[in-house]
Subunit: 327 residues, 2 copies
């Protein structure tokens, strides 16, 4: 069997590959939790995560691979409940990269790291043959405050799901850039520190959080449903999608539910915290379009959506490749 | 200015690139130390490091990219004085990789992690177009015991330099594999936990340690001379090189001093600890050919070597690309 682009989609084939090849061999109690950031024991509990970035083009409306590489890892740490603190970065450069491009990327990483309050403390650079491409890996370390325990397995019937903003912006921006389409769509690529801090400051009891990246909301919630053993119900009408992205999806036949984002997260909170969570999010940076999008139901096996037309449909996780090299 | 293969050599151009593009932008007190692993504050002090692996071929005599990717990061942590504990791994796969190859690589990583006593706790997989290549990034976290402070700036006149084994094996093995030459040369790719532990257990006061990888011993010692402000004197006669590698170098005109290794380290110890350090190393796994190879001199500006023929020569750091994609 050979690796195909679908193995990198973040959807079902990616999950199967990880299970077959890696998880079965690297087994340990931390990895077994299969969260995007690993929380490991220590005097302080540490959260560790890693992400490689292969996005093309390197520069796109609303961001670049440098900003993306910091946001992606910072957001994974935040979602585990950690306060992000340190990043490492590994560059794999194809021969022929312009130094000026690399400087632009590094400056963007530095700006984003400052915005997110993290320090880049170690790095590595390798060069390979090729045509001027750039790959960046970042790994991140954060500290998880005592007593903070998050995860899909904490979800209970009646919990409310909020999304921090509109769906599909990053995906649509990358695709527009590749197709040479000029429009108003910008990647949402952003560090989610403020949104998360606002929830915690408001005293919201957060059950689980997840940034909605490759594979889209459908894939994230599919995983949550699987891990929690609870059904999840979405309200199509409530899903925030910008007019521009909606029009773009209409033309190309794309579904915002499986499109990748780089500055959005979904959060499950107890029913009694719904209003506080909503108000806190709305006031936070990058979260102005936050919305209550659904709820956790009783024991069940997947994600269902009440459609705009009054029907109900299953929402399957992404299968196949949605957009190669989106992050 | 464009990136060339020489920027990935681990020698002078790599150092210049890092300084120009990255270090100037990511500046913080931890990164400024420019060690291979960053030691950051915390209740326990943490050591963080990252390394990307792009070696070709993926499988070579004595190892494979999987074993290499664990050893490289474990060794960087060990050299900072840390006890390696957790790894993250990021895979960038080119379309067309055989799953069986990937399974072989993952198994090799798992075996090596077990040998080194570390857990792989987080991972990421991306797929790009290409011809079946595999890139692996590993980042590592370790804990530095209280009071352990290592670094080239601790070196003083009279300190003794020991090398843990023969030079050039990894480089010669990779080159042999690429050239289709059959010989007895095997990569030295190994985790250096036992050698380091043996020194500390013997009560040796270690001033500085560094694994001798890309760029070779000449590059490592050139950096030490620069940072410590002390001259370094090598004895050519004392440098351990296997007969096979020596013959190979003779034919191809290679210098073991600038060849990469993946299971060797150089250590600076106080003069009074010389015998203890030597005995401890010799008894440790992967260190049977350890040798005392030179000493730290008074204030000075570089590395000099007493040659076998009784002369003296300067030993410059690697300039240009020695062997692309050696690790």
């Amino acid at each position: 069997m050979k690796i195909t682009m679908a193995h990198g989609s973040g959807g079902q084939e990616t999950a199967a590959l990880i299970e077959q090849v890696f998880a079965s061999r690297f087994q340990n109690p931390v990895l077994a939790k299969m969260e995007d950031a690993a929380v490991v024991p220590g005097a302080h509990r540490l959260a560790l995560t890693t992400d490689s970035f292969v996005v093309t083009p390197l520069f796109f409306p609303g961001g670049d691979i440098g900003r993306l590489s910091v946001c992606g890892t910072v957001n994974d740490l935040l979602m585990s409940g950690a306060i992000p603190q340190y990043l490492t970065c590994g560059f794999i450069l194809e021969e022929g990269v312009e130094i000026e491009e690399l400087e632009h990327i590094a400056a963007s990483m530095a700006d984003t790291a400052r915005e997110a309050g993290v320090s880049i403390v170690a790095g590595d650079t390798k060069v390979v043959e090729g045509k001027g491409g750039v790959y960046i890996n970042t790994a991140g370390v954060g500290f998880v405050p005592k007593g903070r325990e998050l995860g899909a397995d904490h979800c209970r019937e009646g919990d409310v799901l909020l999304l921090s903003g509109t769906l599909g912006d990053h995906h649509a921006a990358i695709l527009s850039a590749r197709m040479g389409i000029e429009n108003e769509i910008r990647s949402d690529c952003a560090p989610l520190c403020e949104g998360v801090a606002a929830l915690l400051k408001a005293g919201v009891q957060v059950k689980a959080m997840r940034d909605v990246t490759r594979g889209g909301l459908a894939t994230v919630l599919g995983e949550w449903a699987g891990r929690s053993g609870h059904g999840i119900r979405l309200e199509e009408e409530a899903l925030p999608v910008s007019k521009e992205v909606e029009a773009f999806c209409g033309i190309l036949g794309l579904d915002p539910l499986t499109m990748g984002n780089e500055g959005k997260f979904v959060v499950a909170v107890a029913k009694q915290d719904e209003d506080r969570a909503f108000a806190a999010l709305k006031a936070a940076r990058y979260c102005a379009h936050a919305a209550v999008i659904g709820r956790v139901e009783g024991p069940g096996d997947g994600v269902r959506m009440n459609t705009r037309l009054g029907g109900t449909r299953r929402v399957p996780a992404l299968y196949g490749e949605s957009l190669p090299r989106i992050c």
